[in-house]
Amino acid sequence: MTATTTGISTAAVYPHYLHCLAEADEQAAVEVAHDLLDAGVPADRVLLDLVAPAQAEVGERWARNEWSVAQEHAATHISERVVAAVAACTDVRATHGRIVVACMDGEWHALPARLVAEMLRLRGWQVTFLGASVPAAHLVSYLHRYDAHAVALACALPMRLPQAHRMIEACRRSDVPVVVGGRGFGLDGRWARRLGVPWAPNGPAAADLLADERALRAGAPTSLAHLADDEYAALVSRRGELIDSALADLVQRVPAAGDYSPAQLDSTVSDLGYILDFLAAALYVDDGTLFTEFVEWLVTILDSRGVPAAAVEATLGHYVRVLHDFPRATGYLQQGRAALPVSVRRISS
């Protein structure tokens, strides 16, 4: 952390800044950032050492069910305003080409991509930030209209990898290289390698990669030969039917589920859908760990909201039964079951 002559450091103001986010106090949060800039802390340090970790904390508080979605959403909005305020205080002349930064269609957590966009801007790139949830058609028509050196595409959730792949291909057909980032490609970027697209773990790495045009264009070949078994395509087309059967199975096992409120029913249906979407993504990149990591995460989230992990186990079991002729899918489902807490597995067996 940067210690400055006036004694203000990001570490020192961090708790206060978090408090501002908790109180949804936009003005105070922006003031914290301005104070740091005034004290001589460089803009990129304010973004990396204050905004980014605070936003990560916001996400964790939501995951622990300490914050409601509304609170998380409000805090995120304020973080975005802080980034805008920091950006407005820096005056960098664009000396490099244009980079288009976009989030996957359906993804609303734009802040990490926004931070990368600012990081690139501070490095002299001319940055266009298309924002959260960018439809592929919008991105492509933008690329036709404006010459871009590259597209930086963020994907936060691995379940969107098949869609991300289509988006990457669309950019490449426009002859614009793509660099990807975000947790959706795996913490080590392994699913980006599977899709044959350059990956950067963070803003500074993305900036380095973009500066090296040959590395940017040297995409490895995609290794998706496994898609020939059609498990992915079949799972996607049977999604609705599979959710119906899983719901029927749930009502049979847990009669209380029959009395769910409409809101409870909606969230159950979307959870059942997420399981299939992550399973489909795992099939797409041929990596069971994608699904296992999701199951572990889901159990944590549900646990903090009082939903027993046994419910997940039973649903995975149901999907194993109905997908018996999908060897890869059932394999992943079994691996997912094995990742559940031991107590759960004993109860259900």
Partner: protein, 515 residues
């Protein structure tokens, strides 16, 4: 040829004799070297095959395969040319940005056609832009670009731009070296025009080592490549000209960010059905009134796409003019109805709109007073400071259909921290759920907003957009628009610093983070 057990040649057929005159009866095959199955002798490609005979003798079959090998080589070459052109067609087949298309052309030419490829576009306004790709040690060539004043273009390029294909290659290389495109004179080079709509739209210079002369077959390939490149560049330029025009028109049809107003925090969301088009039939906006209040509106016109967007433009312009003469929401909506009726009758379009139009005025206590008029649109929601969501009782008839429609009216107050939300039916009629056929509905929307009273207006608008899109799960949808206005309370706290938070409009215009 038949050989004995000791390798002595016992018999040579006349054909073998002709192909291999050095082999004679009584001699050996040692003169043929290692006896490879394929060998070249006396300018012919020969294939040798050995078969064992009885008593240790062996028989060598000799076949002249020169012609078939030549044909096979020609076929392989032809196939690689077709494959190359197929790749070129694929890469240049999509409409590209003109600069990108130019860069792609030179990049594709290396290494198949050249070690160095330079594309020079026909000069515009006295300046000629060029792109160059050079082969480096590995597969991916490096591309750079530059500009030359038209008067400084090499004469060969000027001639080629007129449609000629200069053949005096020596001075071509020198001219290209002078222009700074080629590293040295020890190269062979050719210049080929790129066909455009009438005159060539550019020329392609290809160069490689002097030892690899361009023969007629190479030139055929280069011309075929140039034809595709010319078509791609022409398309790209045409596309650019048209999108420039479309963008200008589009910008005038996009909903404008609401004008800042004291005591009001605005939030908006806008997601047209056709993402590539970025405009649609939903609209919103606001205008300041002289008394410190604002008139605001959100609505939806019949129809989709460009035509609908054009109609929203007419409607917004009407309101822009009318709000100066009438500030009461119901009477303003009535005036708008008359104006629309007149134009739609005149043009026989039969278009109509649904909308909510309101006037907001700040109160001393920091709250806001709202009067809303309804023209057949979904009733607004109010998010109270208790966290509860209330639907305002507002109804009314469509605007632009009958001459004296029934227009609903409702008034309410927003205490500081309370938000009024206007939205289009793209939100509540979004289809999703298990089968993708269930509407989101007002209940789910209300549920999603309940307890969100601490959210700023822009975050609330985005939340509605997000909930709707999550529900849609990538399915097609109608235009989606949201306008939120929140009472922010009496006067903002004074800043501790002189610099203010930069004013930002929502939604941010594209490229807002650019310099």
């Amino acid at each position: 040829m038949v050989c004995g057990p000791d390798g002595t040649v016992m018999h040579v057929s006349p054909v073998a004799q002709r192909l291999l005159p050095e082999v004679v009866v009584g001699g050996t095959l040692d003169g043929l070297g290692s006896l490879d199955p394929e060998m070249t002798r006396h300018g012919r490609r020969l294939r040798l095959r050995r078969a064992s005979l009885s008593a240790g003798r062996s028989c060598w079959y000799v076949e002249d395969v020169s012609d078939s090998v030549e044909r096979a080589d020609a076929l392989v070459a032809e196939r690689s040319r077709s494959a190359f052109l197929a790749v070129v067609g694929e890469k240049l087949g999509n409409p590209l940005h003109p600069d990108r298309a130019a860069a792609a052309v030179v990049r594709l030419a290396v290494p198949t056609l050249a070690e160095v490829a330079v594309l020079v576009l026909a000069p515009r306004s006295g300046r000629a832009r060029w792109w160059r790709a050079r082969r480096v040690d590995d597969e991916s060539p490096t591309v750079d670009r530059g500009v030359l004043i038209a008067a400084e273009l090499p004469p060969a390029v000027v001639e080629s731009l007129r449609g000629g294909e200069p053949h005096a290659v020596d001075w071509l290389v020198e001219q290209a070296v002078d222009a700074g495109w080629l590293p040295g004179a020890d190269l062979s080079a050719r210049l080929v025009p790129l066909p455009g709509r009438d005159a060539p739209m550019g020329v392609l210079l290809v160069a490689r080592q002097a030892t690899r002369w361009y023969v007629e077959e190479d030139l055929d390939l280069i011309r075929a490549f140039a034809a595709r490149a010319g078509a791609a560049l022409t398309t790209a330029l045409l596309y650019r000209d048209q999108t420039e025009m479309a963008d200008t028109l589009q910008a005038s049809l996009l909903p404008a960010a609401p004008a800042p107003a004291p005591g009001v925090q605005w939030g908006t969301a806008y997601r047209p059905a056709q993402a590539g088009l970025r405009i649609g039939g939903d609209f919103y906006g606001s205008h300041r009134l002289p008394d410190g209040g604002s008139v605001f509106f959100l609505g939806d016109v019949s129809g989709k796409g460009v035509e609908a967007a054009v109609f929203t433009g007419q409607l917004r312009q009407c309101l822009h003019a009318l709000h100066r003469v009438e500030q009461h929401p119901v009477r303003l909506l009535q005036l708008l109805n008359d104006a629309l009726l007149e134009t739609t009758l005149a043009h026989g379009q039969g278009r109509f709109a649904t909308m909510v139009l309101g006037v907001v005025r700040p109160h001393r206590d920091g709250g806001l007073g709202l009067t809303l008029a309804g023209g057949g649109h979904l009733a607004p929601l109010v998010l109270r400071s208790s966290g509860e969501v209330e639907q305002l009782p507002l109804s009314g008839m469509l605007i632009g259909v009958v001459s004296d429609p029934r227009i609903g009216q409702v008034s309410t107050r927003l205490a500081p921290g309370e938000t009024c939300l206007l939205y289009s039916d793209g939100v509540t009629e979004a289809r999703g759920g298990r089968r993708g056929d269930e509407q989101l509905g007002t209940d789910r929307l209300t549920q999603a907003l309940t307890g969100c009273q601490r959210m700023p207006a822009p975050a609330l608008a985005e939340r509605i957009e997000q909930v709707t899109c999550d529900w849609l799960a990538q399915r097609d949808h109608d235009d989606i628009a949201v306008l939120a206005l929140r009472a922010v309370g009496p006067g903002d706290r004074p800043h501790r610093h002189l610099h203010a938070v930069p004013a930002m409009s929502e939604p941010e215009p594209e490229g807002s983070t650019g310099p």
